[in-house]
């Protein structure tokens, strides 16, 4: 009972601190000479687009009915066209190509387009990184010196150089050699980088599985591939899931560096919007929030998977 009261107090304290910090930031922001303009932000996420509708033929506007415009062409044919906002009146004479009116639709703004690109490049990267990580992780614990040394060199080189430099090398050197697009070069550079970390995570996970599991499998006549596929990796995967999720979250955040090779992902989109809107504070806060939505979503997915997989152990 007492204990319960105590946690309630500290929970209230937590919210008080958060509100306090928010208030402090708000107060501080009033001191600088900056005009906040949050109203402009939504239009960079989603905007209402107008599509002009042109007349397909020469003729006369006959009538409007059920949101449609009926055009009687000079050849005597009646054509009906869906138009939400007509600009002409009944009886107007039009030539082919004249504007009849326009329709509107909601389209993703530059920030949402950027977010979409961030997610797309991250997913492609995660898949490649997992494959690289799995193979090099297995090579790393292999007894064959060729595999072992190759994977060690790869992991040490990648972990010992900055991602930004790697992105430049992949884009300008390898990308030029193999004629890669920005997207492919970017996804590949990220995957090569994160793959080295994933390899170490997978290596640690595999080595954490007791030797008896391999021995029992060998004694049953299973081969190396079967043991890895059916015994070791399923158990190791469960153990490294939190670390893997952390690495995926890093990858999503690191994808912001791809803006440097002009891949229009979320950060690049943010920079472009800032340049045209002159609202850097609002835009960068929005960009941060968009990243957070994605990474926190992944974090929740990880927690859900961990709980589901926990059932058998």
């Amino acid at each position: 009972m007492n204990r319960k009261k105590n946690t309630l107090f500290w929970n209230v304290a937590f919210f008080a601190v958060i509100i306090g910090i928010g208030f402090f930031i708000y107060k501080a922001s009033l001191k600088i000479n900056y005009t906040w303009n949050w109203r402009a932000v939504p239009s960079y996420l989603v905007y209402k687009a107008q599509h002009e509708i042109d007349s397909p033929a020469n003729g006369v506007v006959e009538k409007f009915k059920d949101g449609k415009l009926y055009l009687k062409s000079n050849k005597g044919k009646v054509i009906h066209i869906k138009i939400e906002h007509p600009v002409l009146k009944v009886g107007a004479v039009v030539d082919a190509g004249d504007e009849l009116g326009y329709n509107t639709s909601y389209e993703p703004g530059p920030l949402l387009e950027g977010l979409y690109m961030t997610i797309k490049v991250s997913i492609v990267s995660i898949i490649i990184a997992l494959i690289i990580g799995l193979i090099t992780g297995l090579m790393r614990i292999s007894e064959n010196p060729l595999f072992k040394n190759l994977s060690t060199v790869y992991i040490e080189l990648v972990r010992g150089t900055p991602l930004l430099v790697q992105i430049f090398i992949v884009y300008f050197f390898i990308g030029t050699l193999f004629n890669m697009t920005r997207f492919i070069a970017g996804a590949f550079a990220l995957a090569v980088f994160e793959g080295a970390y994933i390899a170490e995570i997978i290596r640690a996970g595999i080595q954490s599985i007791p030797k008896g599991q391999t021995e029992a499998s060998l004694a049953l006549g299973m081969n190396y591939f079967q043991i890895m596929r059916y015994i070791i990796i399923p158990q190791a995967f469960k153990r490294v899931l939190p670390a893997l999720a952390g690495q995926f979250i890093s990858l999503i955040k690191d994808s912001s560096l791809l803006s440097i090779i002009s891949l229009t992902e979320l950060t690049k989109a943010g920079r472009e919007v800032v340049a045209s809107s002159f609202s850097p504070f609002e835009i960068w806060f929005t960009v941060a929030a968009l990243y957070f939505v994605v990474t926190y979503g992944l974090s929740l997915l990880d927690r859900y998977l961990e709980r589901r997989l926990a059932g058998d152990e």
Partner: protein
């Protein structure tokens, strides 16, 4: 020792030294006949477990030969997976697969190694789970089982491969005392059914009752070999006498 078709396992002059310099096996030679139950006894570190593990090559050897069913398994060119499938092994620490249910534990190698159809593997699995008295737990995960129950699963898993030889590596050493009897009963039952078995154990009662032949090992060597009466009632060497006086 000549290749003799009577022998299902032949070990010739087997030597092994661990990387830390410990000589685990010194000139161990042994022939096991089909249907024979051989029990290996000896103190900890005597090499009995190491020797058992060389028979399915979980442990490599430095020199000598081991021939199982006429195939030299110590030859690097031998396809071990095929031979191993014919040699069932039960471990001290069970080594059941924690991510699979009891039924899946027993089915997996049948499907992957014996290439049995799923329904056949399931039928065989339930047959052997019933035999070891744990069919009612078939949908449980191993974490919900006691040590004795896990060991029953491990035995069923090995038997379901229809092995020609069964190796038991201190199968009851990690069990609570009240679980030991049940596992030993299963092993005695298998011995009665004429399964070829090599058993490393500290259970002298089991050795006396079930063994056709007992081997006493010390510091990597076979010191004495004989029927249970010869070993327990008329030990010849001082070392065996001393060992028996310590444990009985």
């Amino acid at each position: 020792m000549n290749d003799n078709s009577d022998y299902i396992i032949v070990a010739e002059q087997v030597n092994k030294t661990y990387p830390n310099g410990v000589k685990a096996l010194r000139d161990v030679s042994l022939g096991v006949k089909k249907g024979e139950v051989v029990v290996i006894i000896g103190a900890s570190g005597s090499g009995k477990t190491t020797f058992l593990r060389t028979i399915n090559q979980l442990e490599t050897i430095d020199s000598g030969r081991i021939i199982v069913e006429g195939v030299d398994i110590t030859d690097p060119k031998t396809n071990l997976t095929k031979i191993r499938a014919d040699i069932g092994m039960v471990f001290q620490h069970f080594n059941v697969f924690p991510h699979l249910t009891v039924l899946e534990n027993v089915m997996l190698a049948q499907i992957l190694v014996r290439k049995r159809k799923k329904e056949d593997a399931k039928r065989v699995a339930i047959e052997f789970l019933t035999k070891v008295g744990i069919a009612d737990k078939k949908d449980e995960y191993p974490t919900n089982l006691s040590g004795g129950q896990k060991q029953r699963v491990a035995i069923a898993r090995a038997l379901a491969m229809h092995p020609k030889i069964m190796l038991f590596d201190e199968a009851t050493s990690a069990l609570d005392p009240e679980m030991v009897g049940g596992i030993l009963d299963i092993m005695k039952q298998l011995a009665k059914e004429g399964k070829t078995m090599i058993v490393v154990t500290h259970e002298m009662g089991f050795a006396r009752e079930a063994a056709d032949r007992i081997i006493y090992m010390d510091s990597g060597k076979i010191i004495e070999m004989g029927t249970p009466e010869e070993i327990f009632d008329h030990p010849k060497t001082d070392r065996l006498k001393q060992f028996l006086s310590q444990i009985l």
